[in-house]
Amino acid sequence: MIDIRSTATRLAEALAAGETTSVEITRAHLDRIAAVDGDVHAFLVVDEEGVLGQAEAADARRADGQSLSPLDGVPIAVKDVLTTRGLPTTCGSRILEGWVPPYDATVVTRLREAGLPILGKTNMDEFAMGSSTEHSAYGPTRNPWDLGRIPGGSGGGSAAAVAAFEAPLAIGTDTGGSIRQPGAVTGTVGVKPTYGGVSRYGLVSLANSLDQAGPVTRTVLDAALLHEVIGGHDPRDSTSIDEPLPDLVGAARRGAEGDLTGVRIGVVKELGGEGYQTGVLARFQESVDLMVAAGAELVEVSCPHFVHALATYYLILPAEASSNLARFDAMRYGLRKYPHGVEAPSAEEVMRATREAGFGDEVKRRIILGTYALSSGYYDAYYGQAQKVRTLVARDFEQAFAHADVLLSPTAPTTAFELGEKLDDPLAMYLNDLATIPANLSGVPGISVPSGLADEDGLPAGVQILAPAMADDRVYLVGAALEAALLAEWGGPILDQAPALDQGVPA
């Protein structure tokens, strides 16, 4: 019998050793989904028939000695913002309800080419706008640690699926923290690669200069394995970096040996203190201490413009989003709604009625905000200024990386909050991404690694590790070293401390 709590690395080893089959692993995860997803709601669609067929094909390849990759046969869940041929893709929005794309995103193509069966599509804030997955048009995902709390967002579905053992691996996307913040609040690992490191072809754009797909996993090594599958140059994405990926799996394995001698770790002064929960800061300090004990050299760095990153982001993102979401015009795909009581309505009237019915509150807020920031008379004061501050944030990173090999902060200022708590308070919701946004503005890679449970509420917190652009290997090296040190402290994975979701059913 296989254990669904196994890491993807362990599942791959078991497949290679002939101890199990992809069909057995996939069925076990489908059973788990059937048992717990009614409560968690991590999935928008589960492709039972498709995924079992893909698992059978993986087993047949393995029997012939023709496996496609180390992860061939290890199933995965994909965030519903990436197009999947033949499988509905909604982006968590009514405007795309029932849309079945005629093409695969490059990330999905690479998963298929590496033999990973696709379990289904995971829930998300509508068009990835949010930090709680409550802005999904199809209802929120719940945090497996406490079903009354949010799983983070926008990729709460992917993080919850992995945290609840419904999938060993998942794909997320991170525009301002949507991989890392859900990782922090669900006790899982999430990586935002360097901008351009993973293709955006087939990733439905929110803010195209910020969006980046990446791994959502339970361990750092699993993330490195998955990153190597999905990453690398894609001629179909003009912003794709035309260089080979660094050796990510090698870095994760070296890091797991636990030696950080000679690594300079920089704690960002501006990302901590006021506004951060006590227990989150306590776990962060412990992580820093463990890294120092492992040989790292601690330096304090200051990034003075990071205090403006959130405001910068909430001008750049809505501006890009208002432009990107103009494609949902009721003409070529998606919802078409005719205005009530209008005879022979014009295309524009149909467009307005469709977007009224198809978009949720947060999407409307951001489109209108972006329209404002880009309108004549305000462009220079808002969007133009934001682009300049973006330069200043990038310069802060340059300065900081002159003194430190990696930068550290808590991933999110708080642990998971209660469903509904910030739903109608946009500013309070935006503050969740305070620490993750600077990396998106500057394109640098970052990982969130679980740092432990906050004393005051017993909920998971995360440490964020950032590296210079193209040095994604560093986040794996340092992340794996921290993970190893924490595992030794805890005596087992942090998810062992999460409540069982299917009481009465043996684990």
Binding site: H308, A311, R332, S346, K364, A386, K388, A469
Partner: protein, 107 residues
Amino acid sequence: MPESSSSTGPLISRDEVAHLATLARIDLTDAELDHLAPQLSVILESVASITDVADDDIPPTSHALPLTNVFRADVVTPGLTAEEALSGAPEQEDQRFKVPRILGDDQ
């Protein structure tokens, strides 16, 4: 986000929000306008804090990493068939997207 000074009135009025919604091709109900306009004012007030941060000589950044235009070889590669391209269309006719009228009788 730094605190910004308290403003005397909303940065963006209900009428302005209605106008922006028209520009963005979104119908908003009266209830939505009542709800969204004050929220947008609060957000705008907060993001307005960056207007004085950067000096005039700071260059803008549009993309995180420097970009150059990308070309590909001028060779035919497989694309979507007409059926695939039309597969999500709300309405279609004769292998074309069928859309509502673009112009009125007097245009």
